[in-house]
């Protein structure tokens, strides 16, 4: 299972070289500006800006598609619900169900908004290392306790995930195959074992960390130095976000 956030962060493009803090601020503002859009006339701006940024990042198109697939089912169900349950002008009928004009335009807007936001999120997290992103969030005011928890959790998700896969393999080798609800008891013991192992590991991790000086006041090194080109990129993206927001308010 390929779940690492930053599998493509080692590439060398203008987006990858973009200093993480200015990139984070600019792209997060763009994401929120996208979520603010309700006017269907602004859809081309969202699509074009997402497309330009994704092309500049040179991330594989298949990578984006794989990230769109998973939540796609939920979005699909919701769009169907919107198409048929909205009130308004009937466009056409499929059996007893009527597709309304208002429902269709809202479903289209939500689908585009969803795709554009996922595109920007993918660019943001695939083009910087995750440790740097946590440092950026910390420098922007994320409480130290949350930043520490986030770093630890990210570090151990992969390890505990590997443990789970090993245990599932071991169960399969011994002939276990989850077939019915009767297997709930075995699966709950599996989940319980994961919790017990992670708890035991946390004890060892904590002791090792104390030996290395953990417990002193938390300090985060901020080594972000934005160049003129980074700031210029940030201004361009922020201007796009502001334009979208203002256009939404006044159009």
């Amino acid at each position: 299972m390929k779940i690492a956030l930053d599998s493509y962060h080692g590439m060398n493009t203008i987006i990858h070289r973009w200093e993480p803090r200015t990139k984070f601020i600019a792209l997060m503002l763009l994401i929120f500006a996208f979520s603010f859009v309700k006017n269907i006339e602004l859809i081309p701006v969202m699509i074009i800006s997402s497309f330009i940024l994704y092309t500049l990042s040179r991330l594989p198109f298949s990578f984006l598609l794989s990230r769109l697939c998973l939540p796609g089912f939920f979005i699909f169900i919701m769009l169907v619900l919107l198409l048929f349950l909205s009130q308004g002008t009937v466009l056409f009928k499929i059996g007893p169900l009527a597709v309304k004009k208002e429902g269709l335009s809202l479903a289209f807007l939500i689908a585009v908004r969803f795709i554009c936001i996922i595109t920007i999120v993918t660019i943001l997290f695939a083009t910087s290392s995750f440790v740097k992103i946590i440092k950026v969030m910390r420098s922007l005011g994320l409480p130290p306790l949350l930043a520490e928890m986030m770093t630890f959790t990210y570090r151990y998700i992969f390890e505990i995930g590997k443990d789970l896969m090993t245990m599932l393999d071991a169960m399969k080798i011994r002939g276990f195959k989850a077939r019915s609800l009767k297997d709930v008891s075995t699966l709950s013991s599996l989940a319980g074992t994961i919790f017990v192992r992670s708890y035991d590991q946390s004890d060892r991790v904590y002791s090792a960390m104390v030996l290395r000086g953990y417990g002193q006041p938390a300090s985060f090194e901020e080594d972000f130095q934005a160049k003129k080109s980074d700031i210029a990129l940030m201004i361009i993206v922020i201007l796009t976000a502001c334009t979208l927001t203002l256009a939404q308010i006044f159009l």
Partner: protein, 220 residues
Amino acid sequence: MHIPDGVLPTSVCAAGYAVTGIAVWYSLRKLNKQEDPRKDIPKASLVTAAFFVTSWIHIPIPPTSVHLMLTGLLGALLGYYAYPAAVIALFFQAVMFQHGGLTTIGVNAVILGIPAMLCHYIYSYGKGIINDSKVKNSILGLIIGVTGTGLSVFIWFLILINFISANLNASAERAAIITGTLAHVPLMALEGVFTAFILVYLKRVKPELLGEQSNENSAG
């Protein structure tokens, strides 16, 4: 059970962030009152990672399978760390799997975190009045499992149906809430049973995880 990006209006996302901000602030305030608040960070983080990973376990319900949320167990095991843990787990879900979204982390944290906090209070109160009886612990596990998931499902439907579009037909809205909630009743029951099994297992194998003394210590 997570709402993706682009679905909710910005005002609702902002309200979600505000409620989550207050809840996280409250949790951190409670945690900072402890003698050494950083001492439990590795434990809370690893258990958060374990929650994240256990959501990959699929329970067979022929002809399909489901994965569980374990909201009740999150509250019981993590206490005041439960809300920050929910925010962190949702952040990773959003950026790794696109389950949920960055703009909707606040709202999704309300859906997961508020029931988890409630289950923390129910569990803390419940364990004070029950003894080591396996049956009573199972019932407590069942209660927090059903309450956690039931409340999460209810908040999820309320938010989706009320805020997704003002244009939806009112009677269709009502029907969707009732149908959607009823469709999740088997899942709530399953969560309850699963939580009860895990709680009894942990009570037997690792009571320290539930904030109790180990069996070996108490025996000694």
